[in-house]
């Protein structure tokens, strides 16, 4: 079968289809009339809906972001508490590492007024 004859057959099929469509097409007068009545109609009074819808959408987005942040904060709170408990943990045998004189060894005695008086008395005696 040659491509040329195929094209002619395709063309014939499409023309049959065209004839069928033309029989079922709505009349021009009716379609035109609807278009004319649509063009003479006053503009719809729903224009205020656009800014309202925009504000509503923004409010919904803000609420969603707020909820997400709140949920994230609530999720991070127990983690903080756990890390704090971990750093403050002490071994149950930690007291064994402390001795009775450990305070003496780890602290420096303070030189208060009485000591100074004793020292001055001694120097006087030496002289």
């Amino acid at each position: 079968m040659s491509p040329g004859s195929d094209e002619a057959k395709l063309k014939k099929l499409f023309l049959e289809r065209k004839a069928c469509d033309e029989r079922n097409a709505p009349s021009f007068a009716r379609t035109w009339q609807v278009a004319v009545s649509r063009s003479t109609e006053p503009p719809r009074t729903m224009r205020w809906l656009a800014p309202v819808a925009l504000v509503a959408a923004l409010a919904i987005i803000a609420t969603a972001i707020g909820i997400m942040l709140h949920a994230r904060m609530r999720e991070s709170q127990p983690a903080q508490e756990a890390s704090l408990a971990l750093t403050q943990w002490q071994s149950p045998t930690a007291f064994l590492l402390t001795t009775t004189d450990s305070t003496l060894l780890t602290s420096v005695p303070s030189l208060d007024r009485s000591w100074m008086q004793d020292m001055s008395y001694l120097t006087e005696r030496i002289e």
């Binding site: 079968m1 094209e7 099929l13 049959e16 469509d21 079922n24 709505p26 021009f28 379609t31 063009s39």
Partner: protein
């Protein structure tokens, strides 16, 4: 173009416009009528203006294609939001649709199935060339694509359609004759 001349041109091309609108609306007659009304309204309201750069027919067909695409997008959005209008429900049981289906021959049904198996652009290219007798250049203008692209769509579509119709034996001898012979066989 003045209003009277515009109306006369639209009236002259009405049947062709309806055929092209049907092709752009997946052969849905009620949607095609609605889209065509919207196209006429756009022209009347000055939302679509003919500037004389292209032929009137190719300009009108490209307006129809764009309007049908908008309508399809709106329909898709409605479906996405699960809002099915009463029109959509009524459309299913439309008597007009049933009449058209009855009138179509078996070959036409096969042609429709073959076209539906092709990509949308290929369907459009074939429709514009075979149904409306436009050149590939004019089809490219209507489809809003380059000539090379339109030619590719046309050639691929034609090959696909030819193969489909050959497999379905539409391109064989008349179907009625063959079925009668088959009936006669024991």
């Amino acid at each position: 173009m003045d209003a009277a001349k515009l109306r006369a041109e639209l009236e002259r091309l009405h049947a062709d416009s309806y055929g092209w609108t049907l092709a752009c609306c997946a052969r849905d007659p009620s949607e095609a009528e609605d889209v065509l009304q919207t196209v006429y309204w756009k022209i009347l309201a000055g939302k679509a203006r003919y500037d004389g750069r292209a032929e009137f027919k190719t300009w009108l067909f490209s307006v129809i294609r764009k309007t049908a695409a908008d309508a399809w997008r709106r329909k898709l959005l409605r479906r996405m939001w699960f809002v099915e209008s009463e029109d959509d429900a009524a459309e299913v049981a439309s008597p007009e649709r049933t009449e058209v289906a009855i009138e179509r021959s078996e070959t036409q049904v096969l042609l429709e199935q073959a076209l539906l198996s092709l990509p949308r652009r290929q369907q459009q290219a074939l429709h514009l060339v075979f149904y409306h007798d436009l050149s590939v250049q004019q089809a490219a203008e209507v489809m809003g694509v380059s000539l090379g692209s339109a030619r590719t769509h046309y050639e691929r579509g034609k090959a696909g359609l030819r193969q489909w119709l050959t497999e379905s034996r539409v391109f064989d001898e008349p179907r009625i004759g063959r079925s009668e012979t088959e009936k006669a066989l024991p």
